[in-house]
Every structure is written in C-alpha cells, then in structure tokens.
Amino acid sequence: MTDEKIDFAVIGAGPAGMAAAAFAVELGLETMLIDEQDAPGGQIYRGVERAEDDSPLGDDYLAGRSLVDRLRAGAVDYRSATTVWHIDPDGTLSLLSAAGAETIRARRILVATGAIERPVPIPGWTLPGVMTAGAAQIMLKTGDLVPSGRAVLAGQGPLIWLVAAQLIRAGAPPAAILETAPHPNYHSAARLLPRLLWPARRVLWKGWSLIREVRRAGVPIRREVTGLRALGRDRVSRVVWDSGETDTDLLLLHEGVIPNTQISLALALEHRWDDAQLCWRPVTDTWGATSLQTVSIAGDGGGIAGAEAAALTGSLAALDAAAFLDRIDPAERDRRAAPLRAALDRELAIRPFLDRLYRPAPQILVPDDGIVVCRCEEVSVAQIRRAARLGAQGPNQAKAFTRCGMGPCQGRICGPVVSAVMADTLGRPIQEIGTYRPRAPYKPITLGALAGLGKA
C-alpha cells in the first residue's frame, strides 16, 4: 500500500464517468477511471466499441463512440474489469481485479455508477425467463443476440419503445407490448406539453418516431394494462393480465430506471426520497458535491436524466474537482461551466413530462402481500409488513427480523420496495423510514483476495 494520492478517482465508465475522466486529464488532474466491465460504455453504451455502423441499436447509441474515443485518447489510467469493494471517507479505495486486491488513495472521488432498472415485483417475477427490458438490450449489445421465441415487453417508459424498435430492426419483433401507464398519467403529463413543445421538441419527436416505428411493424399493443402476472412451473410460459393473456417464453419487464445508490448509501451520504421520480437520490449541489467533501456524484446515479445529461454532469464534476484541488480558480470553473449548464437545462426540460407520463402504479412500490420482495432470501411483502407491526422501524431492522437484504445482492433489488412497504404499513413517509445501510464489501470478495492485500 502506498501513501501517494492521485488527484481524481472516477468510478464507472458510462457517459458521466468517461466525460469526467477525459475532461479531468485535460484540466491537468492525475485521473484513474475504474469500471467493472471489460470495456467502456457503462450500460447505455455497452459494447459500443465493437458496434457496426448499421447497428439496430441506432444512432443515439453509436454517438457513445465519441466519448469512448476521447477517453482512449487521453492520459486516463483506465482500470477495466476492476471492482471497487470499499471506499473510506478519507479517500482510500479498495479495488479487486484479476491481478488481486489493492488500495488506491485519491484526493477527490467521483461516483458515476449510473442507474439500475426499477424492480417490477409482479406475481411470478422470479421465474426463469422473466427479465428486464434492459437485459434483452444487453444481449443485443454484447452478442447480437435476439429473443428466439415469443418475447413480450410489459411495463412503461421510453425504454419499452426503444427496445421494441431495436428488436424489430434486428429481425425479432416482440410478440406483444403490454403498456402499464395508468390512465391518470396521460392527463397529468399532457398539462405540461404546451410549454414543452418547443424546448423539448427534439426528444418529443424522437419518442413519437419510435412509437410510430413500433406501431408500423404491426406489434400488438395493449394499453393501461393492470394485474400483470407471470405463470409457469420451472420457467415462464404465459403472461396474464386483467383483460387478457398470451403465451410467452421471455417476459421483459420495465417500470423505468432509478439511481444506483449502493455506493452512495454505503458512504452514508445524505439521501432524499424524490416523489416525482419515486426513488432515493443522493443530496448534491449543482456540481454534484455531496455531504462528504471528498466525494461527488455525476450521471444517473444522482437522479435520472439520461445519457446526454450524464456527460454534462460528469464534465461539471471534473471542473469542480479541478477547482477543489486548486488547479483552476472558481471564476474559471464557473466560466467554463456556463455553456455546459445551458446544455444541461435543455436536456432536463423533458424530465417532468416523462416522470408524470411514466409514473409507476402504486403496486410497483407496494405490491400485494403474497409477492416475494427480497428475491435472494425469498422474503414476501407479508413478512415485511409483519416485521413492521412487530416493531421494526426501518429496513435495517426488518433485515434483522426477516433476513431481507442479507442475500448476495445486498438489498440492491429489494431496497426501495421494502422502504415503501414499511412506510405503507406504519403510515409514515418513506423519507422517515429510510433505506438499508449497505456495508463493505460492496461486491463479494474472497478471503484469499483479502489476504493478498497485505503483500502489495
């Protein structure tokens, strides 16, 4: 272990991390970029380095190449296939890669770990063959793989239409789309449209074109679907809803994406419940700085805003790091930030509309009693409610009562639902109920790898 500190450690090689790391070296910071995947891109640009120009994934996806090129051209110390399993508030990062475990010390850390899919706890959601819409997209991105049977997309959000269009272009149209956006969503979103038509025209047009592309391909679409459940014995074979049913061997669920808060919660950063996006978000200032001076956040991990916004908040975080480390003065930081902020405002314009249009139905956060919440430990909603009535005040106590959150995923999947179910049972706001407090190691590490640390 060394006492030497690098200037800037960026975690996550998605758009926010790539933009931050590349900009930081241009600003003169000694920068390391750490990412678990073999190649850069995060999830949204996953596999983009190997993509062909005529990829069914489309031009917005291929646009990620420029971020990758800028990263590769710069002097970033890029550590791929490397996991961060602990961060100390003093700036020490514990890393694990094929070469073993090591520690690095940084003066400033940027957590750019992006978003995860919101869990969709319908009956039967743990059956083999039930996956997220994003998972199907990952198969397409990493291996040009498409569903081979009857794939059904169920849920709501821009990704439903994007994945459907991508699958159609790849020669494997989905067998059906079951859209769950509840009727009131249309009214509440429509109220925002008049003032957004001009500022958000580009993204509104894109969304409209995607939906039209899917309709023209003749994919059966059902709207305002309620009561979704997946049926099957050892794998999914049928999907049923209140007004219909159909055979399926691949049910792709999606109810939007939420910030990946595993590291920000493990660092005990302040978080707040965002009622517009129905998710936990770390509390940050306009530069992404958090309640811990050494740590800042950029990209969807700070709040869902999309890939273009992520690159902008990543660049703002790099500027802030440079000022924090006295490489540029605050006036220069603000001056260079101005055009980035103007672009960011344009990207954020559409968010309130999307948040309203695709607001999940209440059962997505507070499912029926019989449904498994904690997939790892197989704990049901009823068991969580019982723990709350027996005196558990929040998720960490419910964990002690029921084992929910003690499995390998460390509460990544069940966290938001456990908080929401407890809030509903106890009649208290989710903000008061709080979240899990994840502990290191953030990802599993063997004793052998830990033992190897002292030898470095």
Binding site: D144, V146, D234, R235, N260, C409
Partner: protein
C-alpha cells in the same frame, strides 16, 4: 430463449456449459452462454431450491450466480466468455473450502 440475429458477424468462442461443448458469440457473458445452451436457469436458491435465471444481466440481481472454471458464486453476467471456459449451474449455496 435467445439466438443470433440475422446479418450478425459470426466470430465465436468455444466453451462448455454443464459439460456440453457449445460455441457462443465473442464478447458475451457466461450467463448468456448458459441461456444460449438452452438451460432454463442458472441456479437453484439456497433457501427453497426454487429455479432461478438471470434477471438484470448487469450485475445487480445476483440471480446469475454460477460456477466458472471451478470457482462457484461468480456473477456469470460479469464474466466474459473465454476459449475453454467451463461453466456450471449452481445448486443452492456454494461449498466452503474444506467441506
């Protein structure tokens, strides 16, 4: 559950899934290889023995835990296939060394 899309490039990697030789596209994960081998699931849970398969394919859900090259409890969606990789499903919890 999945197949190669038409017009895709054909560079493949030989691996074994549950002892059976198959070739899978270069760059996919071991979890994808299990699905391409036609297996419904990657594991059974240690709590009830329920069959499970990958849910997120991005390292969040841990449903893809499998034994890769003799080491169990690995997130197979986070491991890229390499020639000769031996992938096996996981039954319940992993054996601790010495058991």
């Amino acid at each position: 559950m999945f197949r190669k899309r038409p017009d895709a490039s054909l560079s493949t990697v030989p691996v074994t899934v549950e002892g059976i030789d198959i070739r899978v596209p270069e760059g996919v994960s071991a979890a994808a290889a299990i699905l391409l081998a036609g297996l419904a699931g990657t594991r059974e849970t240690p709590v009830s023995g329920a069959p499970r398969a990958p849910y997120c394919l991005m390292g969040v859900c841990f449903e893809c835990l499998a034994e890769i090259d003799g080491r169990p409890n690995r997130q197979s969606c986070m491991v890229t296939v390499a020639p000769g990789m031996a992938i096996r499903r996981q039954h319940g919890k992993r054996a601790v060394a010495g058991e």
